[in-house]
Symmetry: C2
Subunit: 349 residues, 2 copies
Amino acid sequence: MNQNNENFNESINPDFKAKKSLMRSVDEYVEGIVSGNRTILSQAITLIESSREDHKELSREILENCLDRTGNSVRIGITGVPGVGKSTFIDALGIDRIVKGDKIAVLTIDPSSSLSKGSILGDKTRMEALSVHPDAFIRPSPASGTLGGVARKTREALLLCEAAGFNIILIETVGVGQSETAVHSMVDFFLVLMLTGAGDELQGIKRGIMEMADMIAINKADGANLDSAKRAVQQIQNALALFSDRPSGWKPPVVMCSAMEGSGIIELWEKIENYVHQSRKSGYFVQKRKVQSIDWMVETIEQQLKEMFYKHPDVKRHLMDFENKVNEGTISSFKAASELIKLFESKKS
Amino acid sequence: MNQNNENFNESINPDFKAKKSLMRSVDEYVEGIVSGNRTILSQAITLIESSREDHKELSREILENCLDRTGNSVRIGITGVPGVGKSTFIDALGIDRIVKGDKIAVLTIDPSSSLSKGSILGDKTRMEALSVHPDAFIRPSPASGTLGGVARKTREALLLCEAAGFNIILIETVGVGQSETAVHSMVDFFLVLMLTGAGDELQGIKRGIMEMADMIAINKADGANLDSAKRAVQQIQNALALFSDRPSGWKPPVVMCSAMEGSGIIELWEKIENYVHQSRKSGYFVQKRKVQSIDWMVETIEQQLKEMFYKHPDVKRHLMDFENKVNEGTISSFKAASELIKLFESKKS
């Protein structure tokens, strides 16, 4: 059994498995991560995903102690509808980069994964080459929680992967709900994979995706698909022209590739490197990361405030009651909110 | 000077003007509002818009006491780009309905209005017929605050207008930023006005608007515009067909009108009445309002939590410091958030 499969098994039941790993000290974790030990990295991520308070505390300490080793990667978000070939694409791109000397970590954000654990195993198996390569680390989505929680865990895992020396982090999203927005908020570059179709290439695009994309790649541009892929490129370029300029000055390219044939992948990566070079030179790269960090701080604060509120015993006891009154129209939404806030304020949990 | 102009002057400086109206008791306000006294209604809305704590308290009491008179209106949101003719349209529709015996209140949400007070006066003047009619009440956007704050005040004003007997509430948004989403969250029916253009009718649509629209009306469908308006209707119908079905089962119609000529307005209103009839019958109308009320409660709670947090003296004192550390990368976003939360928790403001 290879290391990655072991990682995967641990993620199935983080609370149970993490007990074992609790035996380690913070220093042992940090040293293990920094030395690139994937088993320890994986156990630390399991701690991040645990809902136990002592695990949370421990994982925070690990993270703080790894912090000065983070930041040295290119963070790339990848999205696309199911069937677009994300796993095959990531497999092809990842192996290409590993051959050039890079180390690749692949994380996934899938808020629906708690409902469909099966597909994670499927995804993992499909990254055939990467999943057995010593310079790759694949970690499926945290298997439970709200999008906000899943995203926070993934971002913390990303930092640990950087500390472990992975210099390219791919964050895959399944394109469900708002998961793209979460991924977009933690990456340097956002890649949208698309399929060519029968003349209506733009229908499959979710609202808001075009504005987020730093590049659009038509995958499966091979064989009989090649002509319609070329038309799709043209259509999407026309559509992109309608959007206003990016603050970075970057014009998102539209490219074709075939992960199956391995064509277009090298050219696509060159464009990503161009972007990184260009945006580092202009200062936009660093600026964007700073804004993302502050955004994450603010978001974490707001999440914790809400948690504190809804966990407060008096709020818990009366919330349903106030909701019923609002529904019956005997109290306004504003009054109900004020009363609940008063309960929260009067006696600190 | 007519009553509406007086209302308008008061809204310029709510804090100052509200002092006078503070002389009234809660009962006097409530009786005045319920009897349809527009001057008192206007003063009560001014209290809602005031930032003084005693005014807030008073306005909440007024609202609670009016609550059993609310809910008896059709709430309609209207949006469209500047120049689409919203004011002329509202004027034409409003007078049409008043002739049939309805009472119309027009509220505006414009988070940018604090920057451009001039345009409010302009808008108001353009509703020539409505602004001088005794069965109409026009209130410009609260002149300051975040979108969340402006939206809350507008929703409270909406409830007071209902208590005052207005049975059609039109809420206009200028289509800036996220104001449509705010309006959509407080209305029964969302109407999008559009202009016909030179072959590219769909370009002007902001993302997400199509999903919110319960009807799309091509305004200025008159004279030389008529042919291109017909093409626009067809184009938009095709585009709408790409979206999934509404939970209400309603299929948003696309219509033409000319507010200037007065054509199409009656037909448009009939479709709105159809919607109201249909959705009341199915129970969707009531269900949607309940969901909106709970959403407003939750949103108000979250706003107040944030306010409490950012007003906390220790948080205020250290926030900038933590932001700097996050920017320098000497502390993680999560750690900074936790530390700030600890400050907030340890000593209650």
